[in-house]
Structure formats: structure tokens, C-alpha cells
């Protein structure tokens, strides 16, 4: 039976009155013991009987055509099984939620590093040798690779509000800055991997994927088979961060080869290939303008940007996303230019938009506060938007001001010494703060819940990429059905299960969780009927149902099995109300007076994410985001060769994600108790990307506080810091 629910109006806060006591707790992850003992099997951990090994071959020209692939050049390799390429191969991973194959360029090359072939052999060693030795000839064409000098630049009409010239003209203080951010990669620890196995006309694809429902459609489309013949499973994913939203070249290539060879094929991207061929976050150049009256009330706010992508790739980093609703101003202006070039195509990397846009807005706010001689905290509090400035929508719930004031109290913001007055040896100490914001959304999602005498089984194709889905769905089902966690089994990430949006956009937990919630709610109503009580009077706890003076065990109430499948989706509240997560970051840093090295000594984030579903996994998400923001601010940068456009620092030794030593022990994330009644039936909001938003700005603002250096380009590596310090 199917239960359809549209979020047309606020729902009762049922989870505040249920009795199991699971929801919102810091319950440990049910799959955790598998992970800490090495027993959790990720895609590449599968080697089915007869499985052989494939390695992708990259293009070594930036643009042009493959004129010949000389299989004979590697014909001497023992165990070589074949070289695969051709019209089914995809150019790059699908963009998130595409649901159809990415471009299949056949012999065309559109970027240096594009996967163009797959070498398959009996052993991994032979396949790797073949992939690196394969002789390929090209016809090369000129290619632009620099976004600053691109001849093809697309721009839409700016989004505007109010009379810009008037607001700008009457300001007492103005900031007009250009800010640059380097390109980023997700760099999930698990390289993209696929094990393809055909059973007759049916394909089983074990992949490292975030969205198996759309991934199935994308893979089927690329291969030219019916989606019903494709099953995608991805129960353990070694991190995604956007990089595994869409089907990738490894999965298509493995499937093509496996079908031809009649044997399972495993393809794992080399780490260098992950850099070459997986969607990057674009570099950005941003212009941020703020104007305020003498009291610090914002009059004008403009956030314009230039980004880049391959010609024809639809994704555009929404750089100014959070600038549109964090603060209010009489006049607002948002414009974007997309420079077309032949670097590795760009796509979603954790918190597209906010990760690079919010740092700029919040550095500009710090500069404005300095100009006006107002406490940066007060400047923000004066300007927090009370409704969405660009759409006029009310916020479902918006607790930015509380995050700022309470965060400041916990951090000790008011007690910080005056700028530039604190040092320890050669280290100059400073403090900074910034706001966080990221839109929240409910996506259509389905789940099946079955109640048996043993307990409950939850099935959905939702993934757990480290975000805590196994834990959260266990808690929602257990809470709603009055079962302890050990009597709930959650089965995920199989495209045969009811369809969810998957993991992306921070909507996974709320969307798939709402489906589980509504399915369980349907079961509760059936239980109430059986028990003969009103659903509102039903109390479920530890496998016992109580209602209307009757008390029975669930096992007694159920005749065999009670099942419900629910599909939830956005409704009228998404039109009437804006929903977003909010927060505040506070950072204390040390800057070495000689070398310009920056060390974060302390960090605190306080967030409004609506109802917290699992305090432990939410905290992990928030801290992870804060640390990503730190990494982006201080040391992450893609370096593109100026001639080929390819990523020169294509490994983890030269692309610097944060390491243990970069992260202080004193780093905390916490949440305000909030319910967003308009967001979804659980009153929750997304958390996975909110922590990045603004985190780097708090650090850069603290650097300025410490040493007076104003960094307007990230990452703020020592070379830039000493240059800024010498400028004064």
C-alpha cells in the first residue's frame, strides 16, 4: 500500500510526544562495528568469481580527436583481455540528478585527462601497465583553458532588488572588493569504483555512488538498455561530497567490458584519475559590494561572480546563493558569468555556492564593521534578514540571530583582546567570526517500512556516505514504532528498493527520513485501529502498544506483517516559506610573524538545523563542514597548467586536504533546539553542507585581527600571508 504525502501545511510535532526516546539522541551508528573492524564491504572490496581488472586511459591532449588507439602497442602484455572504447563511453560523471547519460563524445576529446579507453587484463598489474603504455594518436585542436581570458562567456540578466544607485549613493561606508577562490575537489577517500557483473541480460553494478535511482537511469541510458535490466547497489560509500552524485566513466566502462568479455570487471580509478576526470569545484572571481549607513544598517549588497565550466555542461556554481537571504538590504544585485573553457568540467563539490560565496560575503562584512568601527557581531545582528529579501517569503524558522549571540557567549567573543595586541612568542593571536547559511529543501522520497513480530525493517534506496543514514532511519522508525534500535533493520542503497533522492544537497536525511516517518505513521494508524484507539492516543514503547486503556505487545497486534510504503514530496509550504539552515562560526588563530603560517587554535560553530535527528552524526557533519571550510581557506587549491588546463597537482601529496595536525583539539559544533514546521513533517533541516558556509571567513577574519593582513584570495598559504603582512 502506498501513502502519498505532500508538504502542504505544517504538521504536528509528533516526534516530540513519542516515547521510545531514540530520536535526537547521540545513538552510535548501527553499522559502525562493521566499519571499525574492516567488515563493511565497499564497491572495490567485491571480487566475484572470474572477475578481471580494468584501468582507464586518459587523453593527453586538451581538445581534439582520437585518431587511433593502437592495441598492438600493448599486445605483448600477458593476460591482456582487451582495450575498450567507443560511442557508449561517457566523457565525465553525470551532474547530480541528471537521470540521463552524460555526453558520450566517442572519439572527441574535450579536456586533458578525459577517460578515453579501458584496458582490461587478468591482473591489476597488467591492466595498469597497459593503460599507461597504450599508444594513442590524436588530432589536436586549439583550446582555451583560462577563465579570465575566455572568449566565450555566458551571462544571464542580473537578479536585482531596489534602486542600486540611490542606496549606494547615500551610504556612509562602502566596501567594494574582489575575492578569488581556487578550484577544489571532493577527494573522497574512496576512489571511484565499479564492479560490473552481467547475469544474462541483467546488469548488477556495485558502485561508489550517492544517488542509485538516478544512477541506474544514467547507466542504462549510457549503455542503451532498459533501466529495469540494471540494478545498482552501493551500501557502503567511502565519502562522496558531490563527487559520486552521477554515474561515472568507471561504471560505464566496466559494464561495457563485462558484457563483451562475459566476465565481471572491476574498475577502480587511480587517485590521479579521480583528479583528472571527476567534476571539480570551479575557481571563482567574485566582486562583493556592501554599503551601509552610519549605524551599520545595510543599504546595498551586490555579489557578482565569474566561474568556469566546459562548453555545454549545465552546472553553474551558485556562488551568491546565501548572499541573497542572509542579510537584508534596500538594494541587491546578483550577476554571474560562466567562462567556457577546457579544464576538467566543474560540478557539485560539498556546499556548491556557499563554500566559496559565503566566505566572500563574510569577509566583506568584517571589512565593513572595521570601516564603521562597529563590533562585527553587532553589524550582523543589525542586518539579519527577517524574510527572504529576494522572494518575500517568510522563513519557516530562522534563528541566525540566536546562533550569533549564543555562539558569541559560548566563545567568549566579548572578552577578546583588542586587535593586534596578543602574541605568544612569534605567534600573533586573533579572533574572528562569521555567519553561516544554506538553503534547505524537501525532495520527493519513498520508503517501505515493514513491522514484523521481530521488529521493523526499513527499505529505501537512500545511501549512507558517512552522513549517518543507517543511524537516523533506525531512530525514526524505532521512535515512531516504539522499538529499541536493535529491533530495527535498515536496508539501503539498492535500486530495487523504493526510490529516494539519494545523498546530495543536504536533503537526504530529511527527505528519506520523512518517507520513513510517514510510512511508520501509516503503520501507527493501523495499529491504533487494531487496538481500537485514536491514533493520537496511541503510545508505543519497547514493543508495547498502549491506547484506550488497552496494552498489548506489538507481536500480538500484528498478524504476520504490517507494511507501508510512503512517498513524500514538497508541497505548498515550499512556495509560501523559505527554508534554510543558519549558524555562526567563531575562530581563534595564530599567525607566525615571520613565516605567515596560520594555525587554527580554537573553533566553535553553533547552528540552527531544525530538529536534530541524531546529535552525534549531525555533529560529525557540522564539524566536517567546518574543517572543509578551514581547508579551503588555508591550503586547498587546484593548480591548472596554463597550457593544457590539466590539474597539475593531481594527487593527495600536492592537493592539500586538511590533515590531523591542521585541526585543533578545541573545535566544537552544537545546535540550538529548533523546529522548522514548514520544512517537512519532522521539522528538520539539512546539516551536511551548512558547516562549510562561512567557516573559512571566521578564520580569515581572525587572521586580520591577529596581524592586520587582509586576505582576499584563498587558500591563504604562507606566500600570500607574508605578502599581505608586508603590505601592512
Amino acid at each position: 500500500m502506498t501513502f502519498d504525502f505532500k508538504m502542504d501545511q505544517p504538521q504536528p510535532r509528533l516526534l516530540d510526544s513519542t516515547r521510545q526516546g531514540l530520536i535526537g539522541t547521540d545513538m552510535a551508528r548501527p553499522e559502525g562495528l562493521l566499519k571499525v573492524t574492516g567488515a563493511a564491504a565497499y564497491a572495490a572490496d567485491h571480487l566475484p568469481e572470474g572477475c578481471v581488472h580494468g584501468m582507464l586511459v586518459r587523453a593527453t591532449v586538451t581538445r581534439g580527436r582520437v585518431t587511433a588507439i593502437d592495441e598492438g602497442s600493448i599486445g605483448d602484455i600477458p593476460g591482456l583481455l582487451g582495450v575498450f572504447h567507443g560511442p557508449k563511453f561517457i566523457r565525465n560523471p553525470a551532474q547530480g540528478m541528471a537521470g540521463e547519460s552524460p555526453i558520450r563524445p566517442d572519439t572527441e576529446v574535450h579536456f586533458h585527462g578525459q577517460p578515453i579507453a579501458l584496458v582490461v587484463a587478468e591482473t591489476f598489474e597488467a591492466a595498469r601497465e597497459g593503460a599507461l603504455r597504450l599508444a594513442v594518436t590524436y588530432e589536436s585542436a586549439p583550446a582555451e583553458v583560462d577563465p579570465e581570458t575566455a572568449s566565450e562567456v555566458e551571462s544571464d540578466e542580473p537578479d536585482t532588488r531596489g534602486d542600486w544607485d540611490d542606496a549606494w549613493g547615500k551610504a556612509a561606508a562602502r566596501v567594494d572588493l574582489t575575492f578569488r577562490t581556487a578550484g577544489h575537489v571532493s577527494a573522497a577517500m574512496e576512489p571511484h569504483a565499479a564492479v560490473a557483473e552481467w547475469q544474462g541480460e541483467n546488469l548488477l553494478l556495485r558502485g561508489a555512488l550517492q544517488m542509485v535511482a538516478t544512477n541506474r537511469l544514467e547507466l542504462a541510458d549510457a549503455l542503451g538498455v532498459e533501466p529495469e535490466r540494471v540494478r545498482v547497489v552501493s551500501p557502503f560509500v567511502g565519502g562522496g561530497f558531490g563527487s559520486k552524485l552521477g554515474i561515472g566513466p568507471e561504471a560505464v566502462a566496466a559494464s561495457v567490458a563485462a558484457r563483451d568479455l562475459g566476465r565481471p570487471v572491476r574498475v577502480v580509478m587511480a587517485r590521479q584519475t579521480v583528479f583528472d576526470a571527476v567534476l571539480r569545484r570551479t575557481e571563482t572571481r567574485q566582486r562583493l559590494r556592501l554599503a551601509a549607513d552610519a549605524d551599520g544598517k545595510l543599504l546595498a549588497l551586490a555579489h557578482d561572480d565569474r566561474i568556469s565550466n566546459l562548453p555545454g555542461e549545465g552546472f553553474a556554481e551558485p556562488v551568491s546563493s546565501a548572499s541573497r537571504f542572509t542579510y537584508d538590504a534596500l538594494a541587491m544585485h546578483f550577476a554571474q558569468e560562466v567562462a567556457r573553457n577546457h579544464r576538467t568540467p566543474s560540478g557539485s563539490v560539498r556546499a556548491p555556492g556557499e563554500a566559496v560565496g559565503m566566505i566572500t560575503l563574510e569577509v566583506a562584512m568584517d571589512m565593513l564593521a572595521q570601516l564603521l568601527d562597529i563590533d562585527p557581531l553587532d553589524l550582523r545582528l543589525k542586518n539579519v534578514a527577517t524574510s527572504h529579501p529576494m522572494t518575500g517569503q517568510a522563513f519557516g524558522e530562522q534563528r541566525l540571530a540566536d546562533c550569533l549571540t549564543e555562539g558569541a557567549r559560548r566563545f567568549g567573543w566579548a572578552d577578546r583582546p583588542a586587535p593586534g595586541t596578543r602574541s605568544e612568542g612569534d605567534w600573533l593571536i586573533g579572533a574572528g567570526m562569521a555567519a553561516a547559511a544554506r538553503p534547505n529543501a524537501l525532495q520527493e522520497s519513498s520508503a517501505r517500512v515493514r513491522l514484523t513480530p521481530w521488529g521493523a525493517v526499513v527499505e529505501t534506496d537512500m545511501t549512507d556516505i558517512g552522513t549517518g543514514t543507517y543511524a537516523i532511519l533506525t531512530q525514526i522508525a524505532g521512535e515512531m514504532l516504539g522499538l529499541p534500535a536493535e529491533r530495527v533493520e535498515v536496508r539501503l542503497a539498492d535500486s530495487d528498493f523504493p526510490r529516494s533522492p539519494g545523498s546530495g544537497g543536504s536533503f537526504g536525511a530529511s527527505s528519506s527520513g520523512s518517507a520513513v516517518f510517514m510510512a511508520a505513521k501509516g503503520i501507527r494508524e493501523k495499529l491504533a485501529r487494531t487496538l481500537g484507539c485514536d491514533p493520537d492516543d496511541l503510545a508505543l514503547q519497547d514493543g508495547i502498544a498502549r491506547g484506550g486503556n488497552v496494552e498489548r505487545s506489538l507481536a500480538d497486534l500484528i498478524d504476520g506483517e504490517l507494511g507501508e510504503t510512503a512517498t513524500v514530496g514538497p508541497g505548498k509550504t515550499a512556495e509560501t516559506h523559505a527554508s534554510a539552515g543558519f549558524g555562526a562560526h567563531f575562530a581563534e588563530v595564530a599567525v607566525h610573524r615571520w613565516t605567515g603560517e596560520i594555525r587554527v587554535r580554537r573553533m566553535l560553530g553553533l547552528f540552527d538545523i531544525g530538529r536534530v535527528l541524531n546529535e552525534r552524526t549531525a555533529r560529525g557533519q557540522a564539524l566536517g563542514g567546518m574543517i572543509w571550510g578551514m581547508g579551503g581557506a588555508l591550503h586547498e587549491a587546484l593548480e591548472h597548467d596554463p597550457r593544457t588546463g590539466h590539474i597539475a597537482n593531481r594527487d593527495l601529496a600536492n592537493y592539500h586536504v586538511a590533515a590531523h595536525a591542521d585541526v585543533p583539539g578545541d573545535i566544537t559544533a552544537d545546535f540550538l533546539p529548533v523546529r522548522d514546521d514548514h520544512a517537512n513533517p519532522m521539522q528538520s533541516k539539512g546539516v551536511g553542507e551548512l558547516g562549510i558556509s562561512g567557516s573559512g571567513a571566521a578564520i580569515l577574519n581572525a587572521v586580520h585581527d591577529a596581524c592586520g593582513a587582509r586576505l582576499l584570495s584563498i587558500p591563504a598559504t604562507p606566500d600570500k600571508v607574508i605578502a599581505a603582512m608586508e603590505e601592512g
Binding site: 553499522e31 562495528l33 573492524t37 567488515a39 591489476f124 565519502g239 601529496a653
Partner: protein, 168 residues
């Protein structure tokens, strides 16, 4: 060629390509897939195992170079039903998210406690002669060869500190 490895106390006689890395031997030949390949170049630490009691990157060494050696992998520390102390501490402290770097973190962590116990200094030790002990700074520096892109670093170090306390 042929190589004999003792992995988690069990002897394995392998017949293999000279190029086989210790990591691929463990994963694909012996079938212990808890040890992960994150970069294959010693840049991430996901493949960390103990060789004769010392932690190494199993991707950056050939199986052939370890004939007769004693290897310990994540599976040698415990099982889901009977996790080892460091494994249980990681679960208790949520010292992971996606779980892919976790085996390497745990193998490194258990070695780090021994390295500190032996008084071996680190880059952040204030003195080379007397080691500061189990400070967060020491743990952070010593664990820096194990990247975690989920950035569960604070929880990982809490887990290590908890295991160290329990061991005392």
C-alpha cells in the same frame, strides 16, 4: 614468484606477479579487504598495516619484500562481535563517518600509542629527550599520515585518547 606472509597469525603462500604490492596481496589474494586503497602512493594512509610490529603504508611496498614477515591488519585486531579495544573506542567516540580511512586510522592509532610508549619523539615534541606524552597535539602530529576527508579528526583523536586512558 612465490612469497610467504603471515597475516594475523595465519600463514599464506602466495604465487604472484613480482609487481604485486603488499596491499593488493592482502586485499585481492588473501581476501582481507578491510585494508583500503585510497591513493596507492603513500599519500593518504588508508592502507596502513603493521609489519613486524611497525606501521607502514602497505601500498608502497612489494609483497615480495616481505617474505617471512608478520603482518597485522584491521581484521587482526577484532571482529564485529568481539572488537578490539581501539576499534571499540572508535565506535564509542564516532571516530569515523564514511569508514573508508578507518582501518588505516585504527592501525596507525594503535601503533602511535606504542611509539609514544617507547618515548619516540615527534615533530611537535617540545623536547627531544623527554616526550610530552599523550597530548592532543602529539596525537594530531603523529596521526597526520592518515587523511580523513569526512574530517572526523576531532572524534578520531578523542577515540585514541579514550583507548589510551583505558589501557593505563
Amino acid at each position: 614468484m612465490r612469497t610467504t606472509l603471515t597475516v594475523n597469525g595465519e600463514r599464506h603462500d602466495l604465487s604472484h606477479d613480482e609487481r604485486l604490492s603488499l596491499l593488493d596481496a592482502i586485499r585481492d589474494q588473501i581476501g582481507l579487504t578491510g585494508t583500503k586503497k585510497g591513493c596507492d602512493h603513500g599519500q593518504c594512509g588508508a592502507c596502513t598495516v603493521h609489519v613486524n610490529g611497525r606501521r607502514v603504508n602497505s601500498c608502497l611496498t612489494l609483497a615480495a619484500m616481505h617474505d617471512g614477515d608478520e603482518i597485522t591488519t584491521i581484521e587482526g585486531l577484532g571482529t564485529p562481535d568481539a572488537p578490539g579495544a581501539m576499534q571499540a573506542s572508535f565506535q564509542a567516540c564516532d571516530g569515523f563517518q564514511c569508514g573508508f580511512c578507518t582501518a588505516g586510522q585504527i592501525m596507525s592509532a594503535s601503533a602511535v600509542l606504542e611509539e609514544i610508549g617507547r618515548g619516540e619523539p615527534s615533530h611537535v615534541s617540545s623536547s627531544l629527550s623527554s616526550i610530552d606524552g599523550m597530548t592532543d597535539g602529539e596525537l594530531a602530529e603523529r596521526m597526520s599520515g592518515n587523511l580523513c576527508r569526512c574530517s572526523a579528526y576531532p572524534m578520531i583523536r578523542a577515540a585514541i585518547a579514550r583507548a589510551a586512558e583505558a589501557a593505563e
